[in-house]
Symmetry: none
Subunit: 401 residues, 2 copies
Amino acid sequence: MKPNSVILLIIDGVGDLPTPKTALQAAKKPNMDKLAAEGITGMFSPLGRGIVPGSDTSHLQIFGYEPEVFYPGRGPLEALGIGMELKPGDIAFRTNFGTAKDNKLVDRRAGRIQTEEAQPLQKYLSTKIDDVEIIFRASVDHRGAVIFRGPGLSRHVSDTDPHETGELVKAIPLDNTPEAEKTAKILNKYMEFSMNALGNAEENKLREKNKKLPANILLLRGAGEYREVPSFIERFSIEAACVAGGALYCGVSKYIGMDVFRLPKKNNVEIIREKAVAAAKAAEKYELVFLHVKGCDNCGHDGDFKGKKEMIEKIDKEVIPFIKKSGASIIITGDHSTPVSWKAHSGHEVPILIWSKEERYDKVKKFDELNCMNGGLGHINGCDIMPLILNILKKAEKYGS
Amino acid sequence: MKPNSVILLIIDGVGDLPTPKTALQAAKKPNMDKLAAEGITGMFSPLGRGIVPGSDTSHLQIFGYEPEVFYPGRGPLEALGIGMELKPGDIAFRTNFGTAKDNKLVDRRAGRIQTEEAQPLQKYLSTKIDDVEIIFRASVDHRGAVIFRGPGLSRHVSDTDPHETGELVKAIPLDNTPEAEKTAKILNKYMEFSMNALGNAEENKLREKNKKLPANILLLRGAGEYREVPSFIERFSIEAACVAGGALYCGVSKYIGMDVFRLPKKNNVEIIREKAVAAAKAAEKYELVFLHVKGCDNCGHDGDFKGKKEMIEKIDKEVIPFIKKSGASIIITGDHSTPVSWKAHSGHEVPILIWSKEERYDKVKKFDELNCMNGGLGHINGCDIMPLILNILKKAEKYGS
């Protein structure tokens, strides 16, 4: 039997500042506006008013996993998101292939190396240093993740990624424990190991011959310690699935035990209609479907107003009609604002709408920052989302009698 | 001297979903709307956004008694509400007279036995089992309460009420303590005792002769442990009174030390004008008068839109003019929504209005879910109610100097 279900569409970084209009105000988006007119709207602060969310912490909080309690750091979420298996106590990092020369970093992305040239390098980068097993996996383009598995490790270590070109940096322990010292030591040994291994790789010699920057260093950042957390179904008795492209969003979903339908990008472009269709199909089986669309955040980071506006129009055209047809209740919001004038995440609220026969409607007719300020939901926080979802699914346990 | 006073009218279960209008939107209620137009309005979540409240926990929170700290379970509140005296450590239950046949429950309400036929059965049902004194009292219709008084008891026991017809159930301990085990054992012995006592009762033989279902079993549910809590006057320095018909609301009020004016139903109908007059009179002496009206919640549970709308119209006509004449400030809200389309409590907000010369007004002209969304109070929670009341009574203690 088809369950009562909710599709939660997170448009990453959708909120903005008016310049003089926001991308949501400027975009032609009749389908979203119709949902707004028929549904109830408001403004949403994932982590509280004015707080600037990371995408990882924001998504955790949206799904009811308070980051103060449940955030394991970025590394484990990325590693999970690219399909690595983690064990409790593993220390995981995000990685970049970079290019170093004369002990200086000259490119943080190895000349934007493509996936098909980065993948063959993966085989050089798993190893064992002292009693620590090191497992590396390349993912998309220059990106990857690495796991340190062994006794007495700590996530309190600095990055070996200098985050800008120039001097290479060594990892240092971030507290005085022997665990942090050991981990920093292994990390620095692993940097040397990776420079040796990649320096000798035939693939890099070929790249240099072809006037491409060699991927001759692996930069690590975002140390985190993996642990098991109570699963989404245990906590909420809701069958939930994720439809996303980005590793992080898949990783967050896997971390909390959702089923993950990962739709990879094609030619580096998200095929968002496919995602919408997949989400609608998932809503036939799952009670909550988390549908993540990334593009608007990238445009925000690039300061690209036109691109952000067009991405919203594309979502309006290629996502909304398909998820609406599913018959599921629909919630649309973002995980944070990424104003094009800031080129960065901000702490401004994001508009939210709920369209469900189990919810009320309000007088707001358009889904944007200016109109949703007067919405009937008022101003809500990340911690309100799961209770609101449980309520419209009629799966909230009554407190008291 | 007549005190500055507040009448807090709780319309049980008044909030609803639009189908296509809510009962509040559809009802003709010129008096409430006038209060809304002259006062300030908003939306109210007793226990937080999306949380589905019980009536007991919601009322406790409204009066500033956080249920996480102060909720004793339903049993003690019901027992207090029907006038029983409790001692700290007592375990109390709500009870139903039911009808069992061949070890199966055939009716949970003994053919909706009336008060005057249930009362005479009371005398059979107090007893002592092992070292536990058991005190029973019948209240209205099939309802009653029972107290277990003795050493080493626990509230962590399941109900002997199966909540639906069919197999009878035995009580089981809900944790591994000897207290829970002992209580479950006594509970099961008491079930046998009650079946024997009621089975032999002449009253039941007469019922059967008259083709009525015998009240031959007592079903227990909602175990709770009574304890003394700091009284309302101690905590808020406000003289408070309750005017209510239902046992639970009287019980909550008694539990927190309010004076209780219980107005029993007549022919099973609440005489709400009498309650309004009693509340207005109480406002001459008390600073806070809690006036509870039940009918809308029952209509919500029955899916009776027309009944709910008419109940609101009746309250508008028979309550508002009388409490307004008293000169008291007036707050109107509900303890939760009971949408007629759900036939159950929901986590949707409830409209609220405050009409007081010590408060502001807003632009809202009507008291309903759609209009109060834009009210000047915004969205408030149960924990905000007592500070707002203390403020308009000018009895709030300044925090700091």
